[in-house]
């Protein structure tokens, strides 16, 4: 019980911080999309130890600068930068309200990286399927690929570090968000039918939803002005069926 830290008299006060060891701080990204009606996660394959050859979340160090004047980049900026690198999305697209990015949780257990103490701030990102550039699956050397969540959680290929836990936390957060905010807009193409939006909900929640009841949800979104009809329709089934009305999320007043 005689930890170094416990002997200091007071938090940040009266001490030269340079005298104390510092951890490495990284940003890990949990990038979700919906592909073929299934929730999918962007994972890389590690090329170096530890966990060489294992699947892992994309991530990288946070630029913390080197002087009190240049303290580097914000955590969210680091996450956004990594997101751009891994998905190949330009910063304009990332700013265009089509991509959701929020801080998820910070993971910092000792020993989670055997090389050194690493504290990882995990971010949850949602990318609409139409923005995925299938011709450029990875930005750099590492093989970055979309993998169905079922496959990832199946445990066939265990994830590196504590990344399996991060996925769990992220999925729980995503499920919580879906009902309580407009993040679904970041998982559908700009124009979508009720059935397509329902498919997104089903993919995230992992179980089928009653179509008529979900339409009620659509009607409420319409009434609240969250989504608006485009006026167009589209036939879904290969062998016919009534065409579905199309909607889009209201871009809002500001822009």
């Amino acid at each position: 019980m005689s930890r170094r830290a416990a002997q200091r008299p007071q938090g940040l006060e009266g001490y030269d911080p340079q005298r104390y060891a510092k951890p490495s701080v990284t940003v890990d990204l949990l990038i979700f999309t919906v592909l073929a009606g299934e929730l999918a996660l962007l994972l890389i394959r590690r090329g170096v130890p530890p966990f060489k050859g294992s699947l892992a979340l994309p991530g990288g160090f946070v630029d913390v600068g080197s002087t009190p004047e240049d303290q580097g980049e914000d955590l969210e900026a680091a996450a956004r930068r990594e997101l751009g690198e891994e998905t190949g999305l330009t910063s304009e697209l990332l700013d265009a309200r089509r991509v959701h990015l929020e801080q998820l949780h910070t993971f910092g257990a000792p020993g989670r990286d055997p090389r050194m103490r690493v504290i990882s701030v995990a971010y949850l990102a949602l990318v609409p399927p139409d923005l995925i550039d299938h011709t450029r699956p990875g930005d750099d050397a590492a093989e970055a690929r979309w993998r169905p969540l079922g496959e990832v959680m199946g445990g066939v290929e265990p994830l590196a570090f504590d990344h399996a836990r991060i996925v769990e936390v992220g999925l729980a957060r995503l499920r919580d968000r879906l009902d309580r905010s407009d993040v679904a807009a970041c998982l559908v193409p700009p124009s979508f039918s009720a059935a397509e939006l329902r498919a997104v909900f089903e993919a995230v929640q992992g179980h089928p939803l009653d179509a008529p009841n979900f339409r009620r949800h659509i009607r409420r979104l319409l009434g609240d002005g969250v989504i608006v009809p485009t006026g167009q329709t589209r036939t879904a089934g290969p062998r016919g069926g009534r065409p579905a009305a199309l909607y889009r999320f209201d871009p809002g007043e500001g822009r």
Copy 2:
């Protein structure tokens, strides 16, 4: 756009982490209780610059060890340690399910501490009022005192660093938690009346609640076994009134 970090090829791979600057990492604590029917926050007064003399959240450095074998303490362990130091609570009391502790958010904007890059992992803690040792308001030199939230948010005495923002985020989280989990148990004494529990909800939510409707909530908690009647009653008003039945949160099966 030529950040150091952006030039590295890949996240954690293929690099000697020692070559890169590291931030200081601290844990900041948002410790709430309910005092005299009002939500209160434990704050210290800073004794050294920057923000000398200002009110601030208690916090401290995370022990990150010094070798790959000794990587120091977990983030939550650091938070729990600080919590014990600031409140004077023993670790047994902290483990006794009477104190709630959860990670809130990580704040790491460059410049939030003018001296150096500091990344703070904020934790939300809830301490039941009966556990507060009024005879020992502070553990060490710094003046640690409970302050009504209204006073803190009033802006009369601005908080140090970005701590005002942390308080905002924490209050929002607390309000969200109150309805969706049993954290209220950590804001009432072991035995309480319906009116006392209601007062806690009112203090957190910041507006009065309808007493009869809140009783319905109590009945549901009873039905779900979340709380149980103690069998005792207590008279509240100084000039009479019907005595109130007392309840306690069910300690649960496990223990």
